[in-house]
């Protein structure tokens, strides 16, 4: 039971919104120490695993490109382009991206998306631009929600698209694990049984994206009513004092 102290530290750390990097490191050290390793060995194990997983950080090499093009007005252009399409709304833009992300992932083209490559430079500015075009200037909280939903569309699309592709890591992991247990299965059969969940995922998340549009419309109406009331009140008061 003692090694579970790491999990406890992580849960408490995230719940109290402490610096996550610090929490994760402390949890790692505590787990290692609780399982009876020396401090030296635990630090070495942490360093080894950290260096071995450097490949997850390669995506940051895209930042100089994005930065240079943003400097030349990439986000502004993304907003203008979407503003020219009259039917575009934030929800519909994200719905199209969700569909594209899911279909391309199902064909094994997982690398065609991603938060640094696509969401930050293109998808989020387009969704914001569509919302601005439809509803005028956005409140900061609305902008946050649209950005968060942009990242969510990328995740949901990829997670529930990629398993339909036979050669993806998770399918190979399932097959390998079952093989170790003496059960031989066809990757194609596993991939086929990812399809029902993929469809349900698209329906659920797609519906939520269309509901996002309704919510944005309601919020912009309420904001307009508030504004009208604010403008009406001073004149009413003037009338009373007169």
């Amino acid at each position: 039971m003692l090694p579970l102290i790491g999990i406890l530290i992580v849960i408490l750390g995230f719940a109290f919104r402490l610096n996550a990097l610090l929490v994760v490191t402390v949890a790692g050290l505590a787990t290692g120490l609780a399982s009876g390793q020396s401090l030296h060995d635990v630090i070495a194990a942490f360093g080894h695993a950290f260096v071995e997983s450097r490949y997850v950080a390669i995506v940051w090499l895209v930042l100089p490109v994005i930065g240079v093009v943003e400097r030349s007005g990439l986000k502004e252009r993304a907003r203008d382009v979407i503003g020219q399409i009259r039917a575009a709304t934030a929800g519909r833009v994200l719905l199209v991206y969700l569909a594209l992300r899911q279909i391309t992932s199902a064909l094994g083209l997982v690398s065609l998306g991603g938060h640094a490559q696509m969401v930050r430079p293109l998808v989020a500015p387009m969704a914001e631009g569509a919302a601005e075009h439809a509803h005028g200037p956005l409140a900061e909280s609305t902008r946050e929600r649209i950005k968060a939903m942009s990242a969510a569309a990328d995740n949901v699309g990829m997670f529930f698209g990629e398993d339909v592709f036979v050669a993806i890591g998770s399918i190979l992991l399932i097959r390998g694990f079952l093989e170790q247990n003496g059960i031989i299965v066809e990757p194609l059969h596993l991939a086929r049984w990812a399809i029902p969940t993929a469809i349900v995922a698209f329906v659920i998340h797609g519906t939520r994206l269309l509901l996002l549009d309704r919510r944005l419309r309601r919020e912009s109406l309420e904001a307009a009513v508030d504004l009208a009331e604010q403008q009406a009140q001073p004149s009413a008061r003037d009338g009373a004092s007169a």
Binding site: L4, L21, T25, F46, G47, S53, V65, R71, V185, P196
Partner: protein, 317 residues
């Protein structure tokens, strides 16, 4: 042969550049910890493969301590909104070209690079081809952007600094979590959880067993941050012995949808930092958990749907 090590060298150089820009800005407003943090990270990319595990571990600990007070963000935008609007109007849709080079070249590279053989040796290590392709694609995209837009010579690195500082220590979190996962595995955390799950979860009927399996996959993924870590543990603990062997569930349906139930967990956990925390930083959300909050309703509904699918399709009638 192009190995990951060459791409790590590029990463190291970029991080060193970011550290230098931060160092040069120290006089004006940037605190020293930004410089130290990115410089240490650069060392890990440039020399990590040649240093001892313990030295690397100490470097990581130093990084974590440096970042424990948070990193500062560089507030200055090098470009003005007016200049950007003017440039956007001038370049039009051509601005999308360098950005789209990244996914297209990554895809083509991962498809083709593994097959190129020069003088009997493969150009790229086949096992690392996706990551190498991504690294090379970013270089190609940067060259495209530089030739097209002709920005000042230091713009790529100062712009990379602006974005990297806004992401801050979250950029390192996925690697730290991978390291945590390794320590969890070495300490046998997975086995302990599986024992607890099989001891305390209600497993008396087929439907209860698939529910426990799907929910267990999601919960364990939330803890580990990765469905791949949860899958062997939960499937060996509940999926195979109970659902498949005792209740005669279809092994293909059970494991395929079981994995996807784990993915529902991935949508809800800060432990899956590269999907949930990094984008929040990258999109400069004020709420670090904003992306997770946007995903929880979808994840819960989809988990419920998975349980229904399992209960309906896993047991032949």
């Amino acid at each position: 042969m192009i190995r990951l090590e060459s791409i790590y060298l590029l990463m190291g150089l970029m991080l060193a550049g970011i550290a230098i820009v931060n160092f040069r800005d120290m006089r004006s407003h940037m605190p020293v910890r930004n410089t130290v943090f990115w410089a240490l990270y650069a060392v890990i990319f440039l020399f990590g493969s040649h240093l001892s595990d313990f030295t690397n571990g100490m470097l990581v600990l130093l990084m974590v301590l440096t970042a424990s007070r948070g990193l500062a963000t560089s507030s200055r935008d090098a470009s003005t909104p007016d200049a950007r609007a003017e440039s956007a109007a001038r370049w039009g849709n051509r601005l999308f070209v360098p950005v789209l080079v990244v996914p297209v070249a990554t895809f083509l590279g991962s498809l083709l690079l593994g097959r190129v053989v020069i003088g009997g040796t493969a150009l790229v290590d086949p096992k690392q081809v996706t990551q190498v392709a991504l690294g090379l694609a970013t270089v190609l995209a940067l060259i495209t952007a530089l030739v097209m837009l002709r920005p000042p010579i230091f713009a790529p690195i100062t712009e990379a600094r602006r974005l990297m500082d806004s992401v801050g220590w979250a950029a390192v979190l996925p690697q730290a979590l991978a390291a945590l996962g390794a320590l969890f595995a070495a300490a046998g955390v997975g086995k302990i959880i599986a024992e607890l799950a099989t001891t305390y979860l209600p497993l008396g009927t087929p439907v209860a067993a698939v529910t426990a399996y799907a929910v267990g996959m999601a919960l364990f993924t939330i803890i580990m941050g990765n469905a791949f870590a949860a899958f062997p543990v939960m499937t060996a603990g509940i999926g195979l012995p109970l659902v498949v062997q005792q209740y005669h569930g279809d092994v293909v349906v059970v494991t395929a949808i079981g994995m996807l139930s784990g993915f529902c967990g991935t949508l809800m956990t800060p432990m899956a930092a590269n999907f949930n925390i990094v984008p929040a930083a990258l999109l400069e959300l004020r709420d670090r958990y904003g992306v997770i909050k946007a995903q929880v309703p979808t994840a819960l509904m989809l988990l419920a749907a998975n349980i229904v699918l399992l209960a309906y399709f896993a047991f032949p009638r």
